[in-house]
Amino acid sequence: MSDWEPEDQRFEEELRGLFAAVRVPPVLSTSDGTERARPPRWTSPLRLVAAGIATVLVAGGAAVAVRGQHGAPDPVASPQPTASAPPSPAPSDTRPTTRPTLPDAHSTAASSAPPRTGPAASGQHSSASSAPPAGSALPGPGNTGVPAGVTLRPSGSVEVTRPGTVLDGLDITGVVTIRAAGVTIRNSRIRTSDEWAVQLVSGSVTILDSELIGGHSSAIQEGNWRAYRVHIHDVYGDGVRLGSGSLLQDSYVHDVGSAGARMLSGGSNITLRHNVIRGGSSALFLTPEGGPDGAGPVTVQGNVIGGGSYSLYVVSGQQGTYHQRGYTITGNRWLRDADYGPVSVTEPRSAIVAWGDNTFTDGARVDLP
């Protein structure tokens, strides 16, 4: 900040004064100038419903339609390069059955995802345990989150201390705090205005077919967690925090204030596979940050990523003090909507053991800088 001079300060004040003198219209009008005497446009819900019916992603030359459930616009999402309207961030009990298809599917890894399982209480799950995993379908609002037909039961915050606990079919307002191993959260929605939606104090958790909304730090705290077909959005901090043993697969992360997925320390067995992740400041911020070093592997495979200053960061911690090794980054697709470029790397090239088949959605190659 040493280059900030008194002249800059005065200039900034002068600019602020110029804007402060602008006459602001007391009520906003539409572009045709006919609504000054009428209420502002946000008073018309019909217009809102009409605005956000569908998102069209064009990837690899093929169009993929993702139908939103409620038709409301997704206001905070960075726009898709070819989108007509972003998807809805609204929580949904009734996920549509139509699924998008992934133009450049990476289905090999997705086959290891656990199948969907209906809630024991309701027994109304349309796809039940025989349904295949999301597989090659592009993760979006139509195939992540709570499946259609699931009846959710309202709940407050939950603290789990018994190993093997299963939370199924809950609509939670608050935080799920995990203090036990082998916990499962499935077919549930967690809406929080706290630091985390899922706080992992100790133990481990697997999250399936669920929707996580909010979190001032992150929707999922770093640690030993696995998440499949999870819809994460409207998070003020990072979408998810990654630590040793973290796996995110077949999931959709968007509308985040900071990174879609972020590491805070070096780790091992970290996997991001077949997700759509759209960042605020970045989609993936991979770094040992505050240390210690990490041995890896860190696998980033078959994702669609976008947004941010750079969509993907692979950077050392504390300006080169800490290093993460063992990156495999293959088969990913970049949206062309980052401010500066697709990738920023400050780690030594030896940290990346595999880099290949990484392209923009229009097919142009993404190389290491």
Binding site: D8, F19, V22, A72, P75, P79, D194, S309
Partner: protein, 178 residues
């Protein structure tokens, strides 16, 4: 498993209050990004329309409402430029066959302040990120921490980036003889 009770969520302010309180800063930010007052008004209206749809379910805490609104406005501006780019492509095609009418100078009709108009013109030479940062700082009048919340940076990083952006704009303005 123990149920430890439901946290009573803080009720959000009525949206009309949010609209009245934050309209000026959202509008001025949009103006700083698009130069044209009519477009700024339209973008601000679109931003509030989107915010209205999401407000009840998103329920941002009161101190985070303005950064949240400005994130929406920022993305509305990005969309605006994408649409403008597509229109420009279409016009380029149509121009091969017929001359277009020269559009009226809307900005000069609305922005009476020559100095502000010159600044807005110069801001278009900034990179998009810098233009956003300057707009958030001087038009929306945000603190560095609030800017960080909008663009996804730490307060320190937002401070450094914003100051550099303001310095770049000053250099551009001085170079333009302002």
């Amino acid at each position: 498993m123990g149920m430890v009770g439901l946290d009573a969520p803080e009720l959000p302010a009525p949206f009309e209050e949010v609209y009245r309180a934050h309209l000026p800063r959202v509008y001025l930010f949009c103006l700083s990004q698009v130069r044209n007052a009519a477009d700024a008004e339209d973008l601000a209206a679109d931003s509030f329309a989107s915010a209205f749809a999401a407000y009840q379910r998103t329920r941002p805490p009161p101190d985070r409402v303005l950064p949240w609104l400005l994130r929406i406005a920022r993305n509305a501006v990005i969309d605006h430029y994408r649409r403008a780019g597509r229109r420009a492509t279409l016009h380029a095609v149509l121009d091969r066959h017929a001359e277009r009418e020269v559009p009226p100078d809307v900005e000069s009709a609305v922005l009476r302040n020559d100095e502000l108009r010159a600044v807005l013109v110069t801001m278009r030479s900034l990179r998009r990120r810098d233009r956003q940062l300057v707009g958030l700082r001087v038009a929306a009048d945000l603190s560095y921490a609030e800017i960080g919340a909008v663009v996804g940076l730490s307060e320190h990083a937002a401070t450094v980036a914003t100051r550099r952006a303001v310095t770049r704009l000053r250099n551009l303005c001085e170079g333009a003889g302002r």
